[in-house]
Symmetry: C2
Subunit: 193 residues, 2 copies
């Protein structure tokens, strides 16, 4: 049996990937469309055939990853045990950060560069994502495995995970599972009774 | 007895404050010198009399606050008890974030926009600051009040504190002490045996 060929990325996917790397490396505002043209080796006309503006690209990157995180969290909701669900949420976030570091750096650092409706849409997805964490904490508190719900504790816990995009370096010797296990242990310490 | 008059800010201090607010609000790269001129109500010539470039301003802001944090951490080193020292470091950081939110937002978010020597100098101060946290953890581990030293745990703990610049909103109803007490409780949970 022959292995199915991996699909070639489309031009749009290639542009999004290159833009994420440039934005992560130099900052969204510092990158011009000419930089992007050079990175993907396309002329101005061809580039604008695929995208309409730099902000649309930023929106595509941020939305895609926040959407994926929100979708994965939705799947994790089927895990009955709040402790195991908390771990699944933590592992999912660490996995996303280690496997798509440029994209997640852009999500965390550049979201405020989106304007009006786009900003609102992304914040909506983000709120939906965090709701699953909150619900997990609340259920665990109700069943007695976690301490009483406290908003600052949830903020601290999420901040610990989110901030890791800054210290998990590409090519780190630490594997994803080790980082996730450590942070999951810390999140359990933060919530346990 | 009359209360001593509070010193008027110098023009340079006024420019730094305005720049921090603009950079925090719109992002360093999105702010032009014309925006800054308008914010401080100075002509181009007068503005350039006080500063030499936008990057120098960014450097002044970031250096000042990283320097102050490093200095305060140095003072905290005189606290013998590692648990109390850990709390002093946590409270100091939260206090700095709540009292100078624009400046700390710029420190956390825009440091990568500094070039070469400036970037190196700031990273040096930052490393010096984090060393005091690490030393505290190591001493507590040695004396048996904290668990064995683990680099990921320290990263998680610092990330929890650092990330709070994003969720502590100006004009929040939560007072500084409440936030610091909560995060200090979490950091102790993370490190205790």
């Amino acid at each position: 049996m022959t292995k199915p060929k991996q699909a070639q990325p489309t031009s749009k996917e290639r542009i999004i990937k290159a833009a994420a790397e440039l934005f992560a490396d130099r900052g969204y505002h510092a990158v011009g469309m000419t930089d992007l043209q050079q990175a993907v080796n396309l002329g101005r006309g061809s580039l604008y055939h695929h995208i309409s503006s730099k902000e649309e690209l930023l929106f595509d990157i941020v939305k895609l990853y926040i959407f994926e995180l929100a979708e994965e969290a939705e799947v994790a909701r089927s895990i009955k045990d709040p402790i195991k669900r908390l771990q699944a949420l933590g592992s999912g976030l660490v996995e996303k950060i280690t496997s798509h570091q440029a994209e997640l750096t852009v999500c965390f650092r550049e979201v405020q560069s989106l304007t009006e409706d786009r900003h609102k849409e992304v914040l909506g997805l983000h709120t939906k994502y965090e709701k699953v964490w909150k619900e997990t904490y609340l259920e665990g508190a109700k069943s007695g495995v976690f301490r009483e719900y406290d908003g600052i504790v949830l903020k601290g816990l999420l901040g610990m995970f989110y901030y890791s995009y800054l210290w998990i370096k590409p090519g780190t010797k630490l594997d994803t599972k080790t980082i996730a296990d450590h942070l999951n242990d810390l999140s359990f310490r933060m919530l346990k009774k």
